[in-house]
C-alpha cells in the first residue's frame, strides 16, 4: 500500500494532465530505478501429496527398513537397482541419480525425519500448516513466505520500490504460502504475463491507468504496466538453458526452466515457488521402478537441470523442497504406503552445508516409530525454514514468520 501511494504521488508530482508526460514519467521511472542487483534467491518447491521420504532418502543401513517394506524397499547400494549410497547409511532412490553430482560437490543437503509436529494426516490440513507456517493453527491469514516479504520489505535501505517480480509463483493462483499483504505474482507461465491486445490497444489501456484518479486501481494498474514492460525488456525467454542443462518437458520442469530465466534476467526475483503433485502413492508405488520412481525421475532431472543451468549463480540461490508429511514406514496391502508423519526435504545451493544428511535419525524399529507406524519427527520444518530464510536471504524476524516457534538448536543446513 505504502509503495503504491508513493508511486502514485510521485507520478502526480511529475505530471499534471495529458498523456505523453505520463509516458515520460514511465521512462523516468524506468531509468530512475536502479537495475535490480544480483541478490539472493530462495526457490521453494512443494511436493504435494506427501512424498514417501523413506524411498527417497533411503535408510539402507537400518535393517528395519527392509523388514517393513518387503516388496517396495529400495535395495542396498551395490545390489541391482540399489540405492545410490551417500554416507554408508543413507542413499538416494536410483531415479534421483541426477542429484548425486550435487551431493559430490557439497551442494545437496538432505534433512531427514523432518516435518510438522501436527499429528494430522490430512493433506489439506498439513499443506495448510506448512504453508501458513503455523501447525495446528488454522486461522492464520497469510503464508510464511509472504510474511517474509512483508517484514523484510520495511527495511531502511530499501529506498527504491521493490521489483514487481520479487516473488513469483508458477501456479494458476497465488499459493497459500505466498498469500498475504505483500505483492506477489502468480503466473502459469512467463507467456501469460502480457496484455493480450495489439500494440495500439495496449498503449490505450496503459493510458487508461496512467491518467485520471490517483486511487488504488490506477496505482496498481500503473505498476502492472511497469511490470509488463520490465519483463518485456528483460525478455527472460531469451535465456536458453546453459551448460547443457536439459529440463524435462513436464510442467514442473518447465516451471523450473522459467525460474532460471527470471533469475538470469535480473528482474529482482527474490522468492520463487513451484509445486508438483503425484506423491500420494497409496497403491503400487513401485520400488526402483514404477510410479514413485517416475515422479522422482522428473523431480530430480528438473532440479538438476536448474542447478546446472544456473551455474555460478547457484552461489546466490538456495532451493528448498518440502512435502506436507511422510508416509507410513510399513508398506500397505496394495504395494503402496498410507499417510505417515515425518518426511525428508532437500536444501540445495552453492553455500549450503552439503554432503551430509542432516537431522537426527530416530530409527525404524517398532518402538521407535511414531504411533507405532511412521517415521518419528526429530526436526520441526520451521527450524529448517527459519534457518534458511535467516541465513540465506537475511530474514531477521523469524519469530514473525513462524509465530509461536522458537528453534532450540541449529539444524546447520546453511
Amino acid at each position: 500500500m505504502q509503495r503504491r501511494v508513493f508511486l502514485k504521488s510521485g507520478a502526480l508530482a511529475l505530471v499534471t494532465m495529458g498523456l505523453s508526460p505520463s509516458f515520460l514519467r514511465r521512462m523516468v521511472y524506468a531509468q530512475g530505478m536502479p537495475a535490480p542487483q544480483k541478490g539472493k534467491v530462495l526457490i521453494c518447491l512443494f511436493q504435494r501429496g506427501a512424498a514417501d521420504a523413506l524411498n527417497i532418502v533411503v535408510p539402507h543401513g537400518d535393517a528395519s527398513y527392509y523388514a517393513l517394506r518387503p516388496n517396495i524397499a529400495i535395495a542396498r547400494p551395490g545390489a541391482a537397482d540399489g540405492a545410490i549410497d551417500l554416507d554408508g547409511y543413507f542413499g538416494l532412490h536410483p531415479s534421483m541419480a541426477p542429484l548425486k553430482p550435487l551431493w559430490d560437490r557439497g551442494m545437496l543437503a538432505p534433512v531427514h525425519a523432518v516435518g510438522s509436529p501436527s499429528s494430522t494426516r490430512s493433506h489439506f490440513d498439513a499443506q495448510d500448516y506448512m504453508e501458513s507456517g503455523t501447525p495446528d493453527v488454522k486461522g492464520t491469514p497469510d503464508g510464511w513466505l509472504n510474511r517474509f516479504l512483508a517484514t523484510k520489505g520495511t527495511c531502511d535501505e530499501c529506498k527504491v520500490p521493490a521489483s514487481p517480480f520479487r516473488a513469483v509463483a508458477f501456479a494458476q493462483q497465488t499459493p497459500r504460502i505466498m498469500e498475504g499483504p505483500a505483492p506477489t505474482i502468480a503466473m502459469s507461465s512467463l507467456n501469460d504475463f502480457t496484455i493480450r491486445a495489439t500494440g495500439s490497444d495496449v498503449e490505450r489501456l496503459e493510458a487508461l491507468y496512467r491518467t485520471g484518479s490517483a486511487d488504488l486501481i490506477h496505482g496498481a494498474g500503473a505498476e502492472t504496466f511497469d511490470a509488463v514492460k520490465m519483463l518485456k525488456e528483460a525478455n527472460p525467454q531469451r535465456y536458453a538453458a546453459e551448460h547443457d542443462a536439459i529440463y524435462p518437458k513436464s510442467p514442473f520442469g518447465q516451471s523450473l526452466k522459467q525460474i532460471a530465466q527470471l533469475v538470469k534476467a535480473d528482474v529482482g526475483l527474490e522468492i520463487a515457488f513451484a509445486d508438483v503433485g503425484g506423491w500420494d502413492t497409496h497403491v503400487n508405488q513401485g520400488g526402483a521402478t514404477g510410479q514413485l520412481a517416475n515422479r522422482l525421475g522428473d523431480f530430480a532431472q528438473a532440479i538438476a537441470a536448474l542447478v546446472t543451468d544456473l551455474g555460478d549463480r547457484m552461489d546466490d540461490v538456495v532451493i528448498m523442497t518440502m512435502s506436507e508429511f511422510g508416509r507410513m514406514a510399513k508398506q500397505n496391502g496394495n504395494g503402496g504406503t498410507d499417510h505417515g508423519h515425518a518426511g525428508a526435504l532437500f536444501v540445495i545451493g552453492g553455500h549450503v552445508q552439503g554432503h551430509k544428511v542432516h537431522g537426527k535419525w530416530p530409527g525404524l524399529a517398532q518402538e521407535q516409530l511414531n504411533e507405532g507406524r511412521d517415521l518419528a519427527l526429530t526436526t520441526d520444518f520451521r527450524a529448517v525454514f527459519s534457518e534458511v530464510v535467516h541465513k540465506h536471504i537475511g530474514a531477521t524476524r523469524t519469530d514473525a514468520l513462524f509465530p509461536g516457534f522458537t528453534s532450540t538448536t541449529a539444524v546447520g543446513v546453511v
Binding site: N71, S122, F124, T174, M187, R196, D201
Partner: protein
Amino acid sequence: MRSTSRSATLALVLALAACSSAQSGTGRVATASSSGELAQGVREQTADEQVKQALNRVSFGARPGDAERVRAMGVDKWIELQLSPGKIDDRSAEQFVAKFPVLAMSPAQLLQDYPQPNQLIREKRREMARNGETVLRDSSGSKFSGLDFTAADSARYKEAGRLSRQMLVELQTAKVARAVIGDRQLEEVMVDFWENHFTVFAGKGPERYFLGQFERDAIRPHALGKFRDLLGAVAKSPAMLYYLDNWESTVEADRPSLVLRANRGGGNGRGRTAIVRNARLEAMGKDTTKKPRARGLNENYGRELLELHTLGVDGGYTQADVVSAARAFTGWTVEKPREDGSFAFRPALHDAGAKSFLGHTLAPNRGIEDGEQVLDIVATAPAAAHFVATKLVRRFVSDSVPAELVDRVANTFTRTDGDIRECLRTIFTSSEFFSRAAYKAKVKSPFELVVSALRVVGARADSTPRTAQMIAKLGQPLYGHLAPNGYPERGDAWINTGAILARINFGLVVASGKVPGASLAEWTDGAQLQSLPHGAQVDGIIRSILGGEASPDTRRVLESGVNPMASDSASAATKLTGFENIVGLALGAPEFQRR
C-alpha cells in the same frame, strides 16, 4: 475518495433548487414520487445514480435495459421487490440450472452415481480379498497392476475421476449462471455473501459431494431469513461438519459421554449416562481399528463459529469458551461421510459434562441441546449483531464502514431476532447507502467483475466451464477458498499487479467473443452501436458499459483514434480501432473495476 462533505452539501443544494437539467432531477424528487414502502433518508445521489447504485449493489450489475426498468418502477420499489425473491419469476435461471442434475441430488445419491475414484479402489480391494486373491504384487509400472484392474475397471476409474471433477464444475457453472441470468439478484448476492461467510473448501476430501446440498438446503432457504436458522442449518450441514472437522470431534476419554440406555445393552444401573472410554471405537466398529484416527475433541468448528461465523475475532470470548463450544458440539457428526452424508447426532460421542460458555452454564447430561443452546447464545449476542452488521455494510456500502449505519443495522438485527431481510432494508433505506461517499466505492471481486461484464453485454448463461475457469484464473476459484476466513471483502486485497493484468485480459477476451454465451453480435445495444460513427460508438459504449461515467481521460482515450502513447505524430497517425476494441478497452478500464 471523490467526495467531500462539501460536495455532498452542494449536491443537496442543487437538488433543492430542483434544476431541471438533462438529468432526471435529484434523488429527493425521485424518492418522493415512488410509493415509499422503504423509508427515506436524505439521498446525496441523483436519481440516475441511485438507479446505478441499486443495480451495482443489490444485483451483480445492470443488464441491458435494467436501468430503464428500475427507473420506471422506482428504485425503492425495485429494491423492495428484490427483498421478496419469492415474488420474482426466476424461470429462466431455474430452467438453465435444471440442466445440471447434481444440483438436486443428495450426497448419498452423488456418492452412488459419482463414486470417488478411491472408493472404486477400496471396493476392488475388498472384492479381491473376498475372492481370496492376494493383492500384493510388485509394481510393473502400471498404477493398478497389483489390483488386477481390468480394462473395464480402469475405464470406470477414469470415468469416476472425470465425473467427480465434473460434479464440481457443474456446481460452479450453475452458480455463475444464476448470477448472470437470474432475476432474483439480491437472493443470489446474499447466497454468495453467506457462502463466503460460511466458507467451505471443495478440495478437502469428499467436501464437493456436500456442496450442492449445502447451498440448496442450508444457505439459500435462509439467505434472507433469520440468522439463527441459517446458523443452525450450517452447523448441521455435512459440508461444514466435514470442512471444520466437527464430524470427528468426540468426547475426551476422561470425560463422561452420553449413552442411551438402549445402546448399553444390559445396563449397569447408572441411568442414562456412563463413563465410556473409547466411545468412538464403540460407535464406529471395525473401521477405526484398521486406521487409527485422532480421537477426542477437535476445536476447529468451535473456534471458527465464534471467530468467523458470529462474534468476530475480538468478540469477547476466551479459549475456555472455544473449548466449551467444541465440547457442546461433540457428537454432531456426519452419517458415514463417504457413503451417506447426512447429519447425525451420536450420544455416545457427546461430552455430557456441565459446561460454562460465555457466562452461561450448560447443564450436564444433555445431548444435542448443548449445541443448540450455544447457537442460541451466539446468535443473540450483541457482538454477533455487530459483526454481521459490519460485514453486510461492508458488502453493500463501503470498505470504510460507516459506524453509525453499522449500529443501526445491529439494532435492527437485535430488535428483529436476527432478521436478515430487515437488516438489508435498514441498509437500503439509509442515507449512507445513497451517499456520495458510497457511490462506486467498492472494488469488484473477480466473481463480481466477470458476472457484471457478462451481464452488461447481455450474455446468455455459459453452459461450459469456461466462465468459472476465468473467475478462477482471476484469483477466486468458486468453492475454492482454502482457509475458513473466506475470500477478502475489501478491495485492496484484490488489486495488485498480477490482478490488474488478468482483469484487463479478461475484458479483452469478452470483447473478442471467446466467452461462450457472450457475443457482441447478440448484444442489442451493441448491434445498434456497430453501425454508428466512431464518436457515437464511444458515447454508446461509455453509456452502456460504464454507466455513462467515464473520467475525462478515459473518454479521451476511448475517443481518440490515435495512439495516445506515441511520441511522434507520424506513428500516431489514425489507427482507428474497431467496435470490439473499444468494448475491450471499456471492460478493462479502471472505471469498470468498481461498482
